[in-house]
Symmetry: none
DNA sequence: ATTTTATATGACAGTTTTGTGACAATAGCT
DNA sequence: AGCTATTGTCACAAAACTGTCATATAAAAT
C-alpha cells in the first residue's frame, strides 16, 4: 500500500499519533496536521490520496472544511473520511450532505479503519485491483511482487519497485523531489534531494530496456512526471 | 490440514472459542470475527479458504451477508457454511436460496463439523484429495507425512514438511517472515524472524537435490515466494 | 558566446539484507 | 536414561541495494 498517502487532520495529539501509528503499520505514507490551517499548508505542497479528518476541530468544523474542499475543483476527487465521536454526532452526520466519502466512529479498531480506507480508495477508483497496478503494458503485482513489461518479467530493487508503483498510480502529474521523497521514501527520512535523480536514472535504465524510457519525463525546474504523452 | 484457513464469524464468545478450538485441533488456521464489520476487515487482509458463519448475527443476518458476498465477484467462490440453531431455523434456511454451500445445525459434534468442512472444500475444488498436495512433480501425502519429488522419496523434517506444504498450497505469492511464522509455526510463538531464513535454507538444500532449488525464491526486502521460475 | 543553473551519469563506499555453517538446547524414541 | 534427529539462535560471510559525491551535459539566462 506504500503508494498511498493519507493526510491526518486531528487536533488531539494522542489520537493523532495513534492514527499515524496505525496507518504506518499498514504501510501508508502519512502527513499530519493539527488544524485546518496546517492542513491547507500541506495541501499546497502535496496532494494526498485521502484525508482522514476529525469532525470536531478548533475554529472550523470538519464538515465545513469538507464542504469547502469539495466545492473546489482541484480537490473534488480527494476522498475524505470523517472521524466522529460516537453516538449523537454520527446521527447528525449521517443526515448531513456534507460530501464526505465515509466516516468512522470512535472508538474503532485499526482493522476497521484500514478496511474503510481501502474501501474508499477502491470506490474512488484509486485502487482498481488491490494487488495489481497496470499502466499500458506495464503490470505490477504487489502480492506476487512482480513487474512485467509487455509480458516480460523485469527485475527491480525494492526502492525501484516503490517508485515505479507510485508513478504508475499517479501518472501525468509532476512531482518535485521533496514530494517524491515524502511519498516513496516516507516523510521522516532525511535524504539528499538529488538522490531522487539517481533513482530516476536507475528506473529509466530499466525502462530503457523496453523502450519505455521516454515515459519517465523530466520537467525542468519542477520535477518528474510519468506519462505516455510528451509535452 | 494446515494449508487451509477458515474464518469464523460468530458473536457469542463461548461458541466462537469452541469452534476455534475444534478447528485448530484439526490443524486448520483460524481467523475470528465477532460481527460482519470485523469479518469484512479481515477479508480485506486475508482471503480464507472457507467461512463458517453464524446465521444469527447482530445488525445483519448471516444470510444477508452471504447473499452480498456471493454477489461479489471476488468472493463468489469462497465457500460458506452457515451455523444455525436447531429446529425451526434449519427449515427456513433449507428453503432459502441464500447461496451458502452448506449448513450445520447446533448442536453438532466436532466430527460432523469437520466432515462437512472437508466435504465443502472438496466440492469447491480446493481439495482434490485431502491427503495429497501436488505441485508440478512434487507430491506430499499429509497422512503418511511423505514427500515425493518426481517419484523419488524425499526425507524431510516436520518443520520442513509444514513449510513446504504451505508453499505448495500458496504458490506465487510473496510471504514475509512474520507471515510465514504465523502460518507455518502458529500465531502465538515467539521465534526470531531470521530463523525462517535458516529453514528456507534447509528446504532449499533438499530441493537442490532435485534441481528444484530455484522454485523457492527470495524477494529481497519482502520475503520469499514459491513459484516455478519464469524469465 | 559566456555564464549560470539544473539535470544526468558513473563510481564507490557504507549499509542493509540474506545466506550459511556451527552449536547447544530440546524433543522424541527405544 | 541414553541416543538421535530436529530446531532455534548466533556469528560471520556474501550479496544486493542505496545514498552521496564528483563530474559531465544540457538548458536557460545574461
Amino acid at each position: 500500500m506504500s503508494q498511498f498517502t493519507i493526510l491526518v487532520v486531528e487536533d488531539e495529539p494522542a489520537i493523532r499519533s495513534m492514527l499515524v501509528m496505525v496507518l504506518q503499520q499498514y504501510d501508508f505514507n502519512v502527513l499530519e496536521a493539527g488544524d485546518v490551517t496546517e492542513a491547507q499548508a500541506i495541501l499546497d505542497e502535496t496532494v494526498p490520496d485521502l484525508i482522514l479528518l476529525d469532525w470536531m476541530l478548533p475554529r472550523i468544523t470538519g464538515d465545513e472544511w469538507t464542504r469547502r474542499l469539495k466545492s473546489n475543483d482541484s480537490y473534488r476527487d480527494l476522498p475524505i473520511i470523517l472521524v466522529t465521536a460516537k453516538g449523537e454526532e454520527a446521527d447528525k452526520i449521517r443526515g448531513l450532505d456534507i460530501g464526505a466519502d465515509d466516516y468512522v466512529t470512535k472508538p474503532f479498531s485499526p482493522k476497521e479503519l484500514i478496511s474503510r480506507i481501502k474501501a474508499v480508495l477502491r470506490r474512488s477508483g484509486k485502487i482498481h485491483d488491490l494487488t495489481q497496478i497496470k499502466f499500458q503494458d506495464i503490470v505490477m503485482d504487489t502480492e506476487r511482487h512482480r513487474v512485467n513489461i509487455s509480458d516480460k518479467e523485469v527485475d527491480v530493487s525494492p526502492t525501484e519497485f516503490k517508485l515505479l508503483s507510485f508513478f504508475l498510480t499517479h501518472p501525468d502529474k509532476v512531482y518535485n523531489r521533496t514530494q517524491l521523497l515524502d511519498q516513496v521514501w516516507g516523510r521522516n527520512v532525511y535524504i539528499e534531494e538529488r538522490t531522487v535523480d539517481v533513482h530516476i536514472r536507475r528506473l529509466r535504465k530499466i525502462l530503457a530496456k523496453y523502450q519505455r524510457e521516454e515515459w519517465l519525463q523530466t520537467v525542468r525546474g519542477f520535477g518528474y512526471r510519468f506519462s505516455i504523452k510528451n509535452s
